[in-house]
């Protein structure tokens, strides 16, 4: 019990530091807390956040998905290019299907073949980068009729005063949260992540459970790619570069344990939002955009440190 209190204090310490940071930025950059800027941050967050929802499933089983960054690139290129070729609706279907397929391949290799998740998805990251260049021939693609297409609604639309991507993210978060908390699939995810052997002894097929988490991750990255393509109305070959780390940082920052079995969707929503505001704040304070990479590093280290500290506390006491 005492350890738990300690953990809460530590976690609150992090939130406190975040609030101090917010206040600091707000005092020095008056644009920071304006509704317009907040909506901008949320728009940005909705893409990484959507990806992070799926990655949360994977991390909860105690595994990783580092392929989502280059998967985002590939799928954004596909959705934009196919929009020009086949039209918006087929483009969306193809994008989601491709996302599911890549997720299934990851899931097959990690879940059924039993290869190490880090290696499998890192290799997939490399493979997909190659595939992007293969597909696009190295050139960037743009939506040709950007002013007319209804495809714009996903990245640029508003509904009831809220940006559509933000609504998509929130709806996705609610659905993902409900699945994890209230369905038998969610229970299997926590079971496999918490103790894989005990879950197998309880008749749970850990291979299928892991497989489906990667499929979910592929799907959410597909939705993120649709938002991204719609927002940018184009796709560069590097558009998703580094996103895998931002996404992972958000998941960890929320407090979902890399060891699996503990964490949740709302934690991810908080973590990824905090990260979004930190990055935006740094930009408004006049730091170059690449400073956010340095900060991502620090955030990952601190969050993992806290995770470890909480565990160590439990062992000692």
């Amino acid at each position: 019990m005492r350890q738990t209190m300690n953990g809460v204090l530590r976690r609150h310490g992090l939130v406190l530091a975040f609030l101090v940071f917010l206040a600091g930025v707000a005092l020095n950059a008056e644009a920071f807390l304006t509704p317009g800027n907040i909506l901008d941050v949320l728009r940005q967050v909705s893409i990484t956040g959507m990806m992070a929802l799926g990655v949360t499933f994977v991390v909860l089983t105690g595994r990783l998905d580092l392929s989502v960054g280059s998967l985002l690139t590939l799928l954004t290129v596909i959705v934009v290019d196919q929009h020009n070729i086949a039209g918006p609706f087929p483009a969306i279907v193809m994008t989601l299907a491709a996302g599911l397929a890549v997720g299934a391949l990851n899931g097959l290799l990690v879940g059924f073949v039993g290869l190490n998740a880090l290696i499998v998805t890192l290799a997939m990251l490399s493979f997909l980068q190659g595939l992007v260049l293969f597909y696009s021939g190295g050139s960037n693609v743009n939506v040709q009729n950007a002013q007319e297409t209804w495809f714009a609604v996903f990245g640029r639309g508003d509904f009831l005063g809220l940006p559509v991507p933000v609504i998509l993210f929130l709806v996705g978060a609610v659905v993902a949260g409900l699945v994890l908390q209230f369905t038998s699939f969610g229970r299997r995810v926590y079971g496999v992540g918490g103790n894989e052997t005990a879950s197998i002894f309880s008749g749970i097929d850990a291979r299928w459970t892991v497989f489906w988490t990667y499929v979910v991750s592929g799907f959410t990255t597909g939705v993120a790619a649709i938002i991204m393509g719609s927002r940018v109305m184009g796709a560069q070959n590097t558009i998703g570069q580094g996103y895998e780390l931002t996404v992972l940082a958000g998941v960890i920052l929320g407090g979902t344990s890399l060891l699996g079995g503990s964490g949740s969707v709302w934690r991810t929503v908080i973590g990824i939002s905090m990260l979004g505001f930190i990055q935006n704040g740094l930009l408004l304070l006049g730091f170059a955009y690449y400073v956010q990479w340095l900060v991502t590093w620090a955030v990952i280290i601190i969050a993992v440190w806290i995770d470890l500290g909480a565990k160590r506390g439990r062992i000692l006491a």
């Binding site: 005492r2 369905t183 299997r188 079971g191 918490g194 103790n195 008749g203 749970i204």
Partner: protein, 502 residues
């Protein structure tokens, strides 16, 4: 008799939210005595031990060490004061040498912080020699056996001139020979005037090695007695508040039709040509030494392992070797050997652990039915009298006995036809143990087929109607009725081993 006690504990109290773990606990340790600390899981032994080793700060009371009130700041401080705790899980670093491990965290260094290797080696060597260890200070600890690693920890007692050494379940993973060596070492420490606290569940060891016994129950001292003036029955009564008489209950021998039959089950290197059957209402014991292949056989039947050959009959119908899912759906349950690794998801509460094997029964179109989960949780909490603060208290916080009861709950709640219990009472307290024995009898009388694996001969004899003796992967004998005796079992197991060796 009353020399000045080396360590006195006076009125120690320690409260955790909701629990008074230690309530006005007092006892003392004389130089050169082995003092047993016994009690059921959750009685407060571990807490008391951690207070002595400086891991917990008591809320009240005092520790008088060598005649002076003392504050212990932490494990290293305790060690330097001469109080050494030897944990059940050893605290050694496998990649470091024996010498480095003996002085772990307190290495001799010069003023630049550089390790004084020669001094370290020399001192470690002396400590090892004093104990008569068969290995040198330069060996990497990871290459040593568990017993040898334990000796490295004990060598710390020499190295730091410990006055008090606390052993926590030291024989948990030792063989009989290794245990004898350990006792020899403990007697050596004792002769040199070291005060020893010995914590164990194994009563035969307690009566073998200790001079006095202090019994804890619910955080309070029930009494301290001289070992030579007491007996098992009396100590047990102090621990659980009743006698051993009701220790084993055998179910009435009224059998129904056959539930499971195994023919020629084989897996190369593990077990060979295993055949047996079990009926409704029957308790079948599987006895054998560790490594005889008992767990492997039942895990194969349940489906978590694959077999090379063999046929299974469920209710007299031939079936394929099942997956765990199929086994569970048929009505088979396996309470596995290791509850922490195989039995429970430790960070989940009792509610989620209980429903884990039966998610389909606890859900409608994949949506979990929480009220149903809670109802079943409450039912088994009261039926098995499980001590937990609520349905979502992580089971990692419960005592071994209460954890095991949740493993039972998770299998009983779906009304199995056959329940296999692999070492169901290992490492749990006497009270929970006899509750589980009563439960086994009760289940059989309700018509379940029960298979019990146990390394404890009295247990296997006490609960089973029929016992298969296994040795080196084969069933070597079968006993029932009057033939069910200790001598027969020992004979069967050892005779076969002798034959195989010849």
């Amino acid at each position: 008799m009353m020399e000045a006690a080396i360590l006195k504990v006076r009125g120690i109290t320690k409260t955790f939210p909701g629990v008074k773990a230690l309530d006005d606990v007092s006892f003392d340790i004389q130089p050169g005595e082995v003092h047993a600390l016994v009690g059921e899981n959750g009685a407060g032994k571990s807490t008391l031990m951690k207070v002595l080793a400086g891991l917990y700060k008591p809320d009240g009371g005092e520790i008088v060490y060598q005649g002076a009130p003392t504050q212990v700041a932490g494990p290293l401080d305790a060690r330097q004061k001469g109080i050494l705790l030897i944990h059940q899980e050893l605290s050694l670093s496998p990649e470091l040498s024996v010498a480095e491990n003996i002085y772990l965290g307190a290495w001799p260094t010069n003023r630049f912080g550089v390790l004084k290797k020669r001094e370290l080696r020399r001192n470690a060597s002396a400590a090892l020699d004093a104990l008569g260890c068969g290995f040198g200070p330069d060996v990497r600890v990871g290459t040593l056996s568990v017993a040898m690693q334990q000796m490295v920890e004990i060598a710390r007692a020499e190295a730091f001139s410990a006055n008090v050494v606390i052993f926590d379940e030291p024989t948990a993973s030792l063989t009989d020979t290794e245990k004898d060596q350990l006792f020899h070492t403990i007697r050596g420490l004792k002769e040199r005037g070291v005060g020893i606290v010995y914590i164990s569940h194994k009563m035969d060891e307690i009566f073998d090695i200790t001079d006095r016994i202090t019994v804890l129950r619910d955080g309070q001292v029930q009494g301290t007695v001289d070992t030579c003036d007491t007996d098992l029955n009396r100590v047990t009564r102090m621990m659980i508040g009743r006698t051993l008489d009701a220790y084993f209950v055998k179910a009435k021998a009224e059998f129904g039709s056959e539930v499971l039959r195994v023919e020629g089950l084989s897996k190369s290197g593990l077990f060979d040509d295993v055949s047996f059957s079990v009926k409704e209402g029957e308790v079948l014991g599987l006895y054998g030494l560790v490594g005889a292949g008992r767990s492997e056989v039942v895990e194969t039947i349940f489906g978590v392992r694959r077999a090379d050959a063999g046929r299974l009959f469920w209710k007299e119908g031939r079936i394929d070797l099942p997956t765990p899912r199929q086994s569970i759906d048929m009505g088979m349950a396996l309470v596995p050997e290791s509850r922490k690794e195989q039995g429970l998801v430790l960070m989940m509460g009792g509610r989620e652990n209980t429903s884990l094997p039966h998610l389909r029964l606890f859900s409608e179109v994949s949506i979990m039915n929480k009220p149903r989960e809670l109802a079943v949780f409450e039912k088994y909490r009261s039926a098995l009298s499980i001590k937990t603060t609520g349905p979502d208290q992580a089971v990692s916080q419960l005592s071994g006995g209460n954890q095991q009861k949740f493993v039972l709950a998770k299998w009983l709640c779906a009304d199995p036809k056959l329940i296999i219990l692999d070492e169901p009472t290992r490492g749990i307290d006497v009270g929970s143990k006899s509750a589980i024995h009563e439960l086994i009898a009760d289940l059989a009388e309700r018509g379940l087929a029960v298979i019990v694996i146990s390394s404890e001969m009295p247990e296997v004899l006490g609960v089973s109607h029929r016992v298969l003796a296994m040795s080196e992967g084969a069933v070597v004998a079968e006993f029932e009725g009057d033939a069910l005796t200790e001598e027969h079992l020992i004979d069967a197991v050892s005779h076969h081993r002798g034959e195989a060796a010849a």
